[in-house]
Symmetry: C2
């Protein structure tokens, strides 16, 4: 057993919670280019962003300062649920018979159930200080909507969530919990927005999509002066807020005298992977350590492993700013997978840049192997993982099995970004054998969607 | 602000987790009389109990030693989820405008979501060391079944859960999560037991009841030599295991230089109230402190406030041992309330004795006021409470409001025994105005049920 290790959680004392966020732009060799306005085809200006974002957030989107102080009011809220525990996965290790030592940072202990709350609290704070009375957003899987509902409640603001209609119908508990925190939850597309009415007049029976919901939320924010919009991933300021995860994890690994050889996170829009990885990536830039980083995506939405590094719209309807990122094409429609948070067509520009520059690697994994490792993890470590987070578990298991073959005692660290207690329908389907890997027409759909962005004009 | 207090969780260091359970029988002035065998009408013998319980548990049922060492193997599992956090409810205090200081011990952080895991782990361990391969139990609301499924998985045993049919149908996610932890979950009554077949032949369309499920589980345990039965509340050994809660809470209160004036827990079979209260009650016996203790029951199942202190069957069909306790009568049928864990007709004999002797008090509260305070709590403290636990919140709010009137700065401590993320159906009903307080025919039903136990023959 390593120094200081007894089976159980590795907890950071309250005074050890980091008081600054880490900004990778201070250290990365190449920075991603500025986002482009879809209207002017020139770099997006602060004024344009200010129509839907507060200045506090816009400043964080562009700053290159290495460390950004976490405001006292945000720290006060963070202390309600942070630090989060670091666990050594003793039981999982035993079950795998691996010489690897597996650690996971568990972000599901807060009442919203995922890491999303780290950015929701910060964004609610900056909107509150900018005088906003309401934040409007979209949610698909529901983790972001829940986190923002909770964060706005903390700062006594209103919250409106456009929830993709199919999720609204299939995940009534996710809807209830947002309502319980006082949020107004609207099935999207709705009759409450111009874009919603247009969509419904063309396709009255649509199930909705994340792209539609974003468009509705942005419309409301842009046309109401006391309402702003908030995004739960992808953008630089969101990634910044999530670096509290990796900074805590570094301190916790130090407490047990360890440093990871392999760092793993699942990858939808990039915020949970980057939140854990970037503070460790700094050590790689500084030449202090040489861990391997693995962003794990769903095989059904393989933007890093099958996408291209290009300029593309941030949303699916061509209204959001155009960013340079790995993308499958903004019109790409993933098949119905049970990890709603990994269905985004593109990726964080920061993550895309470090992937392009070879500092991190990526793997795509299939649903059935994901649920298989989720079940093993739940039975051994006793936490039901969110299907998204289970993608990270799946890769961690693969790496641990490689160690078993080679006899190497590698240290593996992954981000368990949220729990799956609201995802029991998916587990039920898996237990009944109804989850399959077949993704008919994937390659054709990627070709089609990428063809559409050839002439994007940037 | 009191010494050492910053907003946030009050966490006990790993080495401070208590290593012994506290046995109130060493200190209570009057001990409850021994349980009576329903067959012989003589005190139940260890041999009779041994048909369904391991000796380790039976010894704990009768011992009067003050402190019982927690076995190393149980401590190892406890460390996976203990200590649990103590929170000061700053936001709730602010919302109520009370001078009271409100603290809550949160037992919902473990993956099963409630305090039940404290006893499930211990019982699984004693059964494992007794050579058992399987534990059979019943579950109504689902918290106990989930905890036992998880605990048996920890010790690599099988688990069979007879789940009341109506819950099996209405709470599919509770069923799924037990299955996910490898448990066999059977809708009760079933065709797999003699008693189940009898019930079904008489009432083929029955929704089942906790009494039926207990009877089926006990039958399987009694007729299989490598299977035992386990109960999640009521019995002395279960209460014993739960005292880890109150012992931790005492240390945590000391960390912030506080001692509670009022100690509150909800009361179904007595295990979560007693688990928090008994270590503090010791100080009352010792003349060191004089806190007020309040066991909070559902107005629809008011065993302490409207029941009698008498001998009654532990189950609803008259097969279990007869114990002296507060009871509404074992055939009492509570109306359909949304706190399934509070529907038990009787109460822990230990709790009943200290209530009878005037050391603790009781209050009955109504559903709508319970959900009203649950909603306030969720919006202010950001944790969705289990409807059962919300009964404790409701009383804490009432006490805090009294302090507001009187200007007294009392210290209130309550047990938040579990989260309500699997109870969103009930919250949905409340938000839609479908939860009412009307309990038609309650008094008549109590009279009828109490009449039945007049001639119990003990």
């Amino acid at each position: 057993m390593k120094k200081n290790q007894i089976p159980g959680q590795i907890i950071l004392a309250a005074e050890e919670i980091p008081k600054q966020w880490y900004n990778i732009k201070a250290d990365m060799p190449n920075r991603p280019p500025a986002a482009i306005s879809p209207r002017t085809h020139q770099p997006v200006t602060a004024d344009e962003l200010n129509a839907i974002f507060p200045m506090g957030v816009i400043e964080q989107e562009v700053t290159t300062e290495r460390y950004i102080d976490i405001p006292a009011e945000v720290m006060e809220k963070y202390r309600l649920f942070r630090s989060t525990p670091l666990h050594r996965a003793y039981e999982l290790e035993k079950a795998l018979g691996t010489p690897a030592r597996i650690y996971y940072k568990y972000e599901g202990t807060n009442p919203s159930g995922s890491h999303k709350l780290n950015s929701a609290v910060a964004q609610a704070y900056y909107n509150k200080t900018a005088g906003m009375k309401r934040i409007v957003t979209e949610t698909g899987a529901g983790q972001w909507g829940t986190a923002l509902a909770m964060a706005t409640k903390m700062f006594e603001m209103d919250c409106t969530v456009y929830m993709v209609k199919v999720s609204y119908q299939q995940k009534p508990y996710r809807r209830s919990i947002m309502q319980l925190y006082g949020a107004e939850v609207i099935a999207s597309p709705s009759n409450l927005t111009e874009i919603g009415r247009q969509i419904l007049s063309k396709t009255p029976d649509t199930n909705g999509s994340l792209g539609d919901a974003i468009a509705e939320a942005v419309e409301i924010a842009a046309t109401n002066k006391d309402a702003n919009y908030a995004l739960g991933s992808v953008l630089d300021h969101v990634i910044l807020h999530q670096t509290i995860i990796g900074q805590e994890a570094k301190k916790q690994m130090e407490l047990v005298d360890e440093y990871p050889d392999i760092i793993i996170g699942c990858n939808g829009g990039g915020s949970n992977f980057s939140g854990l990885a970037f503070p460790f990536l700094k050590d790689k830039f500084d030449g202090k350590a040489d861990a391997k980083f693995i962003a794990v995506e769903a095989a059904a939405c393989p933007k890093l492993t099958k996408g291209v590094y290009t300029y593309d719209y941030g949303d699916s309807v061509g209204m959001a700013p155009i960013a340079k990122m790995y993308s499958l094409g903004h019109s790409f429609r993933p098949s119905g997978i049970h990890a709603g948070g990994l269905r985004y067509h593109g990726d964080s520009p920061l993550l895309s840049q470090v992937y392009h520059d070879g500092f991190i690697t990526a793997e795509a994994v299939n649903q059935t192997e994901v649920f298989e490792s989720a079940l093993l993890f739940a039975q051994k470590e006793l936490i039901v993982p969110a299907p998204e987070s289970a993608h990270a578990i799946c890769q961690a298991v693969k790496e641990a099995e490689k160690c078993k073959e080679s006899g190497e005692e590698k240290v593996i660290l992954f981000n368990l970004s949220g729990h799956g207690y609201f995802d029991m329908t998916a587990y039920d389907m898996y237990l009944q054998g109804h989850i399959v890997d077949d993704i008919p027409g994937l390659d054709g759909e990627i070709l089609r969607a990428q063809d559409e962005i050839k002439d994007i004009g940037v």
